[in-house]
């Protein structure tokens, strides 16, 4: 079983996003592996443990994206590849999907590709589906469990977490899946994995290596803004007893139509 997991380097989830002159900034926030992608790595590793084979982590980004790849290696991935090219700067999700699909083809004989459900910076959540479309493979999104994976009959069965419950979906391999939190807590990097990751020589593939012309982005962000600051009024309710305070509070909540 050859599995590719696509990971992205994003600003830490605790970072505060600000918009200045239409430019998004996370300040000096540390960069981390996209938290959703840790579930994708976990899903890939669980399959590797069950069926044998390799998990190759792939990321697209600048040199700093190697940190996300190292995290994936430290969790237990066998190899990692960085896709990096100046022509990919500011690429939209479709352009990213084209590059990822080309890398997946270049890796060759891939049975399964896993993604996190979305990246916490752009929050598009479409790269998995777009990559599947370019590859011509089934896209099984929002997967909370891989209930069956059969490399001889080349089939996969998954459970999808949807708002009203769960769906069981079957597809053919090779397939692309996106993984949600219900899959189960991702493992921590192991010390052995950390050692391996810190010494790993991660190859960088440019567009030339992928045999791709610079993909054209078709989506842009003409306007980005923070939500308007909410005005919060604080009022302290005083009273001689808990009963009196509670009654006043209930009246106010009713008057404000909160209840």
């Amino acid at each position: 079983m050859k599995i590719v997991v696509c990971v992205k380097q994003v600003p830490d989830s605790a970072a505060k996003m600000t918009v200045e002159n239409g430019q998004v900034s996370w300040g000096e926030a540390p960069l981390v592996i996209n938290p959703w992608d840790e579930y994708a790595v976990e899903a890939a590793l669980v399959q590797k443990e069950a069926h044998g084979g390799d998990v190759i982590a792939v990321s697209l980004g600048g040199e700093s994206a190697k940190e996300a790849l190292k995290h994936a290696l430290a969790m237990g991935c066998s190899e990692a590849v960085l896709i990096s090219d100046p022509a990919l700067a500011g690429a939209d999700s479709q352009a990213v999907a084209k590059a990822l699909a080309a890398a997946i083809r270049k890796i060759g004989d891939v049975d399964l590709v896993t993604f996190g459900r979305q990246a916490i910076d752009g929050d598009m959540g479409v790269t998995a589906a777009q990559t599947a479309r370019i590859l011509g493979w089934p896209a099984l999104t929002l997967v909370s469990r891989i209930s069956q994976l059969d490399s001889s009959s080349r089939t996969i069965q998954v459970e999808r977490s949807v708002e009203d419950g769960r769906q069981v979906v079957q597809g053919k391999l090779p397939a692309v899946i996106s993984v949600v939190k219900d899959f189960g807590e991702p493992r921590y990097p192991s010390f052995m994995g950390i050692r391996k990751a810190s010494r790993a020589n991660i190859p960088t593939w440019g567009l030339g290596d992928l045999g791709l012309a610079a993909p054209v982005s078709v989506v842009s962000w003409p306007k980005v803004e923070n939500p308007p600051a909410r005005e919060i009024k604080t009022e302290i309710i005083a009273g001689s007893s808990a009963q009196e305070i509670a009654e006043q509070l209930a009246d106010k909540l009713l008057a404000e139509k909160v209840l």
Binding site: A74, Y188, F191, I194, R195
Partner: protein, 401 residues
């Protein structure tokens, strides 16, 4: 001079932080109130390899260096002191003692299961009547053929009731002209007949930790469990303390950081007189002192870790790091409470726990007073470290892994 952590160090730091923040931080108050150790802590630390972090792979460890040990301790104590205490006794005071003084056979038989976390280890030096005055300890080990018969009581022992192994120092020669030379060290398996253990409750701090006593009544200890030669017990205990104190120094640094981070959050959140309290200079001064303490404590323990990696004797530097960081952590916690005002005085916030936890480390593994005497004695050249028969092995990635 290179102040940068390696990728490996940063990943270790991140991994241990994730564990402590995700799994322990949400429940620590509950166990601190109950005065119980969270039942999953030792198993999880073992499973993740933290209990064998800096021990060679061939002895069941994870093959990281001594700096990684320090960084892990900093991260653990930034969440709760009790987590770091586990490292101090299991790794610092016991396992590193075996690595330094044990024979190859003892390392395979006794150290490897500890490094894997299959056996939990503690350290039995202190007695009801002997703390700083180590040479006054009363426990006796009498050789009878191929065994020693052990009698005595050890007190204030972290993990006493949880551990499987204890590194115990007892008197083998009551007639030695210098009482320090009459002591020997033993690795006692605590399921041996004649061993009883118990917990101590009602402590000021480290309430989510296990602190207790171990009593030995005619406990047979096989000759092959004596660590080092007869009469080397004091030297072995002191080298164990060099390693234990290192973990305490690193941990106390984490406690200072926790105080600082809590204070920064609160200073920006809490408003008084129409602005956030961080804008007031007297709050800023307290924060500035915490920043100063944190940076200084961190540099001191990292220097000691660097010396350990290189195989340089670090008794003085480790003592200095431990003395400084523990005193500074108590002061930082006290000032953090002051910044939090009345809220800091309740266990709704963490800072009161930080203060209670900080006090213990000013007493154990050398009181601050002992460390002051040591530092003065080094400066005055009254004290010099003689070479040891067995030195702590320097870190060497090739042999460690």
């Amino acid at each position: 001079m290179d102040f940068e952590l390696t990728d490996e160090h940063r990943m270790v730091q991140h991994m241990v932080r994730e564990f402590a923040q995700r799994e322990v931080a949400p429940v620590i108050k509950e166990y601190d109130r109950k005065q119980e150790m969270a039942p999953f802590v030792l198993d999880r630390m073992a499973e993740l390899g933290i209990l064998g972090i800096c021990l060679p792979v061939r002895y069941g460890g994870q093959g990281m260096d001594y700096i990684a040990l320090g960084l892990a301790c900093e991260e653990l104590e930034a969440v709760d002191t009790t987590l770091r205490v586990v490292m101090s006794v299991h790794v610092g005071l016991n396992s590193l003692g075996l690595l330094q003084w044990g024979t190859e056979e003892q390392k395979q038989r006794l150290l490897a299961p500890q490094a894997r976390g299959d056996k939990i280890a503690c350290f039995g030096l202190t007695e009801p009547g002997a703390g700083s005055d180590v040479a006054a300890l009363q426990s006796r080990a009498v050789r009878q053929g191929d065994i020693y018969v052990l009698n005595g009581e050890k007190m204030w022992i972290s993990l006493a009731s949880k551990a499987h192994h204890a590194l115990v120092v007892a008197r083998t020669d009551p007639d030695a002209p210098d009482p320090h030379d009459g002591l020997s060290a033993f690795l006692v398996e605590l399921d041996t007949p004649g061993v009883t253990t118990g917990d101590i409750h009602g402590k000021l701090g480290v309430r989510a930790g296990s602190t207790g006593w171990i009593a030995f009544q005619d406990t047979p200890v096989p000759l092959e469990n004596r660590i080092g030669e007869e009469g080397e017990g004091f030297k072995i205990a002191m080298s164990c303390l060099d390693n234990g104190r290192y973990t305490v120094a690193a941990g106390a640094t984490g406690l200072i950081r926790a105080c600082l981070e809590a204070s920064l959050r609160y200073a920006k959140d809490r408003h008084a007189f129409g602005r956030e309290i961080g804008k007031f200079q007297l709050i800023q001064q307290k924060i500035a002192y915490m920043v100063q303490s944190y940076d200084a404590a961190r540099l001191l323990y990292l220097r000691a870790g660097w010396m350990k990696n290189r195989g340089l004797r670090n008794t003085r530097e480790t003592s200095l790091a431990k003395w400084f960081a523990t005193d500074a952590s108590f002061e930082a916690a006290s000032q953090a409470i002051q910044i939090h005002g009345a809220y800091g005085y309740s266990d709704e916030y963490d800072v009161e726990r930080y203060l209670r936890n900080a006090k213990g480390a000013i007493i154990y593994e050398g009181t601050s007073e002992i460390h002051q005497l040591m530092q003065a004695a080094y400066a005055l050249e009254y004290r010099r470290d003689a070479p040891l028969r067995c030195e702590l092995p320097p870190y060497d990635a090739a042999t460690w892994q």
